[in-house]
């Protein structure tokens, strides 16, 4: 059902945690639906130098969070804003159809963190 890459990111999620004094931070989803993602980013000179997440959710939610943090590190704000959940899924080798909705949260949480950053630095 899940690809090896999904399972790898689920079993060994990259960048779990929080960033003290994060440049931007966003939480999306809600516990009622069974998925919450919190994303912290650290931005230096317009580039995302660190990203950490916490996720309450299923295997697909954890893996996409993990993969998404990996993908945005080193990207500029503009590049990161252009990241889609489709790209994250592709990078994970795909997800079962019923799980696609879980992957949307990764894109949304990054956007939320970036917006938070932009608001603070506007």
């Amino acid at each position: 059902m899940y690809s090896d890459k999904v399972m790898d990111h689920f079993e060994h999620p990259r960048n779990v945690g929080e960033i003290d004094n994060a440049s931007g931070s966003g939480t999306v989803g809600n516990a009622k639906c069974g998925d919450i993602m919190k994303m912290d980013i650290k931005v230096e000179n317009g580039v995302i130098v660190d990203a950490k997440f916490k996720t309450f959710g299923c295997c697909a939610a954890v893996a996409t969070s993990s993969m998404a943090t990996e993908m945005i590190k080193g990207k500029t704000i503009e590049e990161a804003l252009a990241l889609t959940n489709k790209q994250v899924m592709d990078e994970l080798g795909g997800l079962p159809p019923v799980k696609i909705h879980c992957s949307v949260l990764a894109e949304e949480s990054i956007r939320a963190a970036l917006e938070d950053y932009q608001k603070k630095h506007a």
Partner: protein
């Protein structure tokens, strides 16, 4: 994987017992006659089917001619309800909020066809109140259907009391005993039930065969029309080998019921007790004692069930969860919601259902692994973080 898998999902399905498979094997390629055929091969097949019918009947205190073989427990449920509704005069059905989907979705279908259904609520343990059943009865009530034991939280319902009420009111009473038969004592007369659903793969038999008990004299429409099989009430060439397997499985399960039940109850209570002792923020679902001997169901706050399951799976333990994500739906288990759990807690449920081959060591292993896995997931959970921050504030 560096150790054997520990299968704790016996409420989902069980392995076919070796003795049962042995009993089935001759009926595939060696003795494969159609029980409706009149030649020698057909006649011996017929005898095999009738022997199995007796075995099933004996296990639930019924007469052989009251047993009809079906394709699965779901078919038995669908047939009982729709077969009765099809011939009954009234249009009102009473059931509970925690039935299996085979009952609930059938009732919902009937609602679309103009029937009215009362879904009785349950208390925090999942009990249906007999008094509530009594109060729900109307002049046009045609059927009461309440499950014998719940498949998720293991709660054993007061069926005999509900049966007595149904009998007094003269309303046919169906019970979905798919999880109960072979696990706890079941007797159609003591329980006053008129129809009872069973499924072989929950009790050491093969998948794809079930049975419906229909009390002598109760008229229901056939569900599958066609040949004259099953006294003209359920068409389709008999599922010979599987029916033989169901008979054998139920016979063994009934014989071992007491001994097996005692052993499992001990293991179950050890598992529940162990978790309660070692992991904070957990909740036992269902009643502490009025539950199936093999059923463990707990909620682990702050974490989501599928993640918990997958981590257990990686650690070699196979279980199930009532989280939305495990079913591909958006809502968590209707049973957990019915006993009053908020969504976010219901998402974090874990069901472990013990089986024939579950050992003391298996339970110890689970108890050794579970706390660490729960902690990893909680450390990863934003909810845990927020709540703990609040507590410390």
């Amino acid at each position: 994987m560096n150790h054997k898998m520990i299968y704790l999902d016996n409420a989902a399905t069980t392995a076919v017992r070796p003795e049962v498979l042995d009993a089935m094997l001759p009926w595939f390629s060696a003795h494969y006659g159609n029980p409706s055929s009149i030649h020698a091969a057909g006649r011996e097949a017929k005898i095999a089917v009738e022997t199995a019918r007796k075995q099933v009947a004996a296990a639930i205190g019924a007469l052989p001619q009251e047993i009809y073989f079906t394709g699965c427990g779901s078919e038995s449920d669908n047939w009982a309800i729709r077969g009765l509704a099809d011939v009954a005069k009234g249009r009102h059905i009473i059931t509970s909020a925690i039935e299996h989907h085979a009952v609930l979705h059938t009732c919902e279908y009937l609602e679309k066809k103009g029937y009215e259904v009362t879904y009785l609520p349950v208390d925090e343990y999942g009990f249906v109140s007999p008094q509530a059943v009594k109060d729900a009865i109307r002049g046009d009530t045609i059927l009461i259907t309440v499950m014998t034991a719940n498949n998720e939280i293991g709660t054993v319902e007061p069926i005999a009391e509900i049966g007595a009420i149904a009998k007094e009111a003269g309303i046919p009473f169906h019970t979905d005993a798919v999880q109960a038969v072979g696990a706890i004592p079941v007797d159609v007369n003591a329980m006053n039930v008129d129809m009872l659903s069973m499924s072989a793969h929950k009790l050491g038999g093969p998948k794809g065969v079930g049975a419906l008990y229909v009390r002598k004299g109760l008229r229901i429409s056939p569900f599958i029309f066609g040949g004259a099989q099953e006294h003209n009430r359920r068409a389709g060439t008999e599922n010979l080998a599987s029916i033989v397997g169901m008979g054998k499985a139920i016979e063994i399960a009934a014989a071992e019921l007491e001994e097996h039940g005692k052993r499992l109850t001990k293991l179950r209570d050890k598992l529940i007790g162990g978790v309660l002792k070692t992991i904070p923020d957990v909740r036992l679902n269902g009643h502490p004692t009025q539950r199936l001997p093999n059923n463990f169901n707990m909620c682990f706050r702050y974490i989501e069930g599928e993640s918990l399951l997958m981590r257990l799976d990686l650690a070699g333990v196979e279980g199930s969860s009532g989280s939305a994500c495990t079913s591909g739906s958006l809502d968590p288990s209707h049973v957990l919601l019915a006993i009053g759990l908020p969504h976010e807690i219901a998402h974090g449920s874990l069901r472990l259902t013990l089986g024939l081959d579950t050992t003391q060591e298996d339970i110890d292993y689970v108890l050794s692994k579970l706390p660490g896995i729960v902690q990893v997931l909680r450390d990863m959970s934003p909810l845990y973080h927020m709540d703990k921050a609040k507590e410390n504030a």
